[in-house]
């Protein structure tokens, strides 16, 4: 199981933020086209940054806690997953906070 540890951490992030879609009406997954359009170019830019950083020896990954599956640029699949999962969690947080602030401003905390 060790090899899956990095991916499991990311899976936890997805699971923990999933309720925000419904409970605080984030509606991020529902707007999946907008979601993809917002995230994919940024994820691509970060994948490039990551590949350059790996090539220049800024950082490297534990062979024990990663699957070892590499994409072009010696990029672990976990890193690409990171660049998709973190923005997703960020958007869910942002929209959930928007809903919460809206309720506070209207004074209907029970709604």
């Amino acid at each position: 199981m060790d090899a899956w540890q990095y991916l499991l951490v990311l899976a936890c992030c997805v699971l923990i933020t999933l309720p925000l879609e419904f409970v605080l009406r984030a509606r991020v997954y529902r707007r999946w086209r907008t979601l993809l359009a917002a995230v994919l170019p940024v994820a691509a830019a970060f994948a490039l940054w990551d590949a350059v950083a790996i090539a220049r020896g800024h950082w490297w990954y534990s062979p024990r806690y990663t699957t070892g599956a590499l994409l072009p640029g010696a990029l672990p699949v976990e890193e690409v997953a990171f660049f998709l999962v973190v923005p997703l969690c960020g958007l869910l947080t942002y929209e959930a906070v928007g809903t919460a602030l809206g309720r506070l401003r209207r004074g209907d905390a029970d709604a």
């Binding site: 540890q5 951490v9 490297w60 990954y61 806690y65 660049f83 942002y94 906070v97």
Partner: protein
């Protein structure tokens, strides 16, 4: 100055300038953004702290490529700039797309 430090600094500057001079979504003037950023940073400490813990790291950093300031936990401070740029860039694109759809 170490390379990761420079890269992060430039990326932070880039995303702030992109918002102020080009995208102009008004994101930086909203409580929604700053509250979200605070929450995201809170969770970043947990997740990134786990990834970078020196006792048993998932991600290793070359000491000569970072400032060497690792706080809180063992997180290289540069990672907070990295996270700020990643999340802020996506939120700017998200807000732009939303505005385009409603206008």
């Amino acid at each position: 100055m170490p390379e990761y430090t420079i890269a992060t600094g430039l990326a932070c500057l880039g995303v702030v300038l992109a918002e102020l001079l080009w995208a102009r979504t008004g994101l930086f003037r909203t409580a929604q953004y700053w509250a979200s950023l605070a929450i995201v940073f809170g969770f970043q400490v947990l997740v990134d702290g786990w990834l970078t813990k020196l006792a048993d790291p998932i991600v290793f950093y070359a000491p000569e490529r970072i400032l060497g300031v690792r706080f809180p936990l063992d997180i290289p401070v540069e990672d907070f700039g990295f996270g700020f740029v990643l999340v802020t860039a996506v939120l700017i694109r998200w807000e732009r797309a939303k505005k385009r759809q409603t206008s």
